[in-house]
Chain length 451, copies 2
């Protein structure tokens, strides 16, 4: 309940305190006082490395598997690597086949085999079916335990058949109809089953137009389908239309969340799986790479400035004002870049409308260019009282905003076409462009006029 | 079907071409050849303003409402404002009460009243119930048409009762159990209904521990609950526990998508509802504000440089190298900033663990500071052959990376505590800090050593 989640949150807080003060008995009591697995997982994710190990040790064996399933990849694989094959099998016994597969994908091949071989035949078959597909494909996302029925039986028979189950799989909104060859031929919505005449046959009631997902489709493609058609679950078939399993919305929601996080994190050179509480050394190593790449950008910009050292020596005010030109270009460019990257993610951009967008951005840059060129020229004049300086500033701002628009709008499309992630590489390249153009135009013009 | 979505996409493409070439008859044919409303909406979103109007004119009256419902807020309200009250009522007749409420919330109060008054009594009551709550609350998100049952009847009666419906509402995974006062007392999962003995009563089978949402809860809070408990739908109650309606996962997915987009767009000073194909003038106006704010930052940085113009005059190499110090700080800082903002969104940060994170970031900054200080010192030495310059660079980089860590880690928490959006304000303030500290430390140290 909402209340419960409140309760859980307060528990997390007191647990944090207990950990801080090292009151282990209290920690144990809190964890094993019916804190939901998802909350335990969230608590582990919210804890520094040391505390994580402690909490994990104290987690009740029964819920270990569920807790693992809710943990972020980084932490999950770390814990898994400390467990023996038997322990993993025991912990994951009650999990869905797709969640087990996700975990195995993070273990070394040989360990995975060990675990698979110690599973019972049916479970192994299910998990192996999923492991046969890439992690980021529909096949890797699907769950293999589905309820299938034949088209020629009556709804009444279906109802009696269902009653023989202890319970139905989570998120069962459709019963999947297959023929003798296990080929998917339609879906019987539970909603229809309940309101239809029991004497009708499945074939008469089933819907054949429902969304079918190919096992090889990419997970982001799957997410789009779920969003566009408001699905709760959808059947997954192989190239021959044979039913392999189904994908449920809860797994799709994770995909949506990760894809959305990806752009945000990539633009800062971070990974969307980035563990907020990763140890310092690991973090430093990852960050160093990004800083190194950006250092190259910075040195390129400096090299441009270096070309005009004589001019700067003559008119030192140039050194004072030049960062303004560069930074305004960077800001304007990153707005265009972000908009286009978001547009790509939403699938808004096609060849036809991109030309319009590109021209729109040029126009926007021109409008803001004029506005801010005037403002900056006036401010510069008030500051240094040199009309030539104001003129140079205005021209440089104008040039750089236009360059920023061109780069910001075209970079994502160019990079994407070359299979490079625009969110990751776009910002760095853009800054290089706006810095170089900014310093070049400003100091170049100054050289023409002053020297 | 997946195939269909393929077909739709190719249709969108040929439609774009038809629009480009102005072949109106072809456009009309394509749109009215069974393109799903969601695809029409997507096409409109993907079109420049002019094309939008054309397509909208051609849309079949029957699907107008559904198309509207799938459109981005910006475009939706634009089209709505061109429609008469009667037209809106006709178009939205078949929509869910929550979707109608969403649309009305974008119209002027007086128009909304006009529309409400021309609805039939029951529909008006439903919509008004939703309009009573803020748009971003559970109440604003909920749908009021739910199937409720009493606890004391048998499942057999329930099944017969359901059969009297033409169909059940979308995403009905639970029947909501209420007492005579319409107080919510439990949920009967369809999955249980189907496998249980028909002679049992609802009270015996219903689950009472299910998640209940308060109408006043914020939508992001609702999304967290849906994600944590893998919900398809959840009942919404008022302060007295009276059942008001229910929220379904399809609406929650939109909330998740928007919240995730928010950080990305805000960091570039954009709104998550930003229309990719908004007209140039509107776009320019919105962007101008952001550029203005950042101009202030830039001038502050320039003012700092201005303090040291004598030093730069003496050693022009300083002007060449100073952007490196500032930009390295900016990059390092934005990495920390982004990580913390994401951590806040995931609810990972509490008082206890934040102290650890803060210290971790200081340590990371120190490690990368040492590494890059050495690299940059060497590069600067190779370039200018002045050991003093290298020394100053190294020290300034070290100082600025530490400052960046402090600002990047603490800004989001400080801003959030003051109710300011960290994603929007964080970047600007951070850049100001890293620019000022960067130029100040670099040029300041230079002044001490050279002058």
């Amino acid at each position: 309940m909402a209340e419960l989640s409140e309760k859980a949150r307060s528990k997390l807080h007191s647990l944090n305190e207990a950990l801080e003060s090292g009151a282990m008995t209290r920690v144990r009591r809190i964890i094993n006082s019916g804190l939901a697995p998802v909350d335990v997982a969230h608590l582990i994710e919210s804890s520094p490395p040391k505390a994580r190990k402690i909490i994990w040790e104290l987690v009740d064996k029964e819920i270990e598997g569920e807790v693992l399933q809710y943990l972020a990849i980084d932490i999950q694989s770390q814990f898994l690597s400390d467990m023996s094959a038997e322990e993993v099998v025991d912990a994951t016994a009650d999990l869905d086949s797709d969640d087990i597969a996700d975990m195995l994908q993070q273990l070394p091949e040989q360990v995975t085999q060990e675990i698979l071989s110690s599973m019972d035949h049916q479970d192994r078959a299910r998990v192996e079916a999923i492991l046969g597909y890439p992690e980021d494909s529909a096949g890797g996302l699907m769950n293999t335990d589905t309820i299938t029925i034949r088209p020629d039986i009556t709804l009444d028979v279906v109802l009696r058949y269902l009653r023989r189950h202890q319970s139905l799989p989570d998120m069962t909104d459709n019963l999947l109809v297959v023929n003798r060859q296990n080929e998917f031929i339609g879906a019987l919505p539970i909603r229809k089953l309940l309101v239809s005449d029991p004497l009708q046959t499945v074939r008469e009631v089933m819907s054949t137009g429902s969304t079918v997902i190919q096992a090889t489709q990419h997970e982001t493609e799957v997410a789009k389908l779920f969003e566009r058609h408001d699905l709760v679950s959808a059947p997954v078939v192989d190239a021959n239309g044979m039913l392999l399993g189904r994908i449920t919305i809860d797994d799709v929601v994770d995909v949506i969340r990760e894809t959305a996080d990806h752009s945000l994190m990539s633009m800062a050179g971070l990974d969307e799986d980035e563990d907020t509480f990763a140890p310092a050394l690991k973090t430093a190593r990852r960050r160093a790479v990004w800083l190194g790449i950006n250092l190259i950008t910075a040195f390129i910009a400096s090299a441009v400035i270096g070309l005009f050292d004589k001019t700067i020596e003559a008119v030192v005010a140039l050194a004072v004002l030049m960062p303004i030109v560069a930074s305004m270009g960077g800001i304007a460019g990153s707005q265009v870049l972000t908009l286009v990257i978001r547009g790509q993610a939403l699938g808004h951009l096609s060849g036809a409308n991109f030309r319009w967008l590109f021209n729109r951005e040029l126009l926007v840059a021109a409008l803001n260019g004029v506005l801010w060129a005037i403002v900056i020229a006036i401010l510069a004049w008030v500051w240094f009282g040199d009309p030539r300086l104001s003129l140079i500033m205005a021209a440089a701002i104008m040039i750089n905003l236009m360059a920023a628009a061109v780069a910001g709008a075209s970079l994502p499309q160019i990079l994407k076409a070359r299979g490079i992630d625009p969110a990751l590489a776009g910002g760095v390249i853009l800054t290089t462009v706006t810095d170089v153009v900014g310093f070049m135009s400003f100091l170049g013009l100054a050289t023409l006029i002053y020297i």
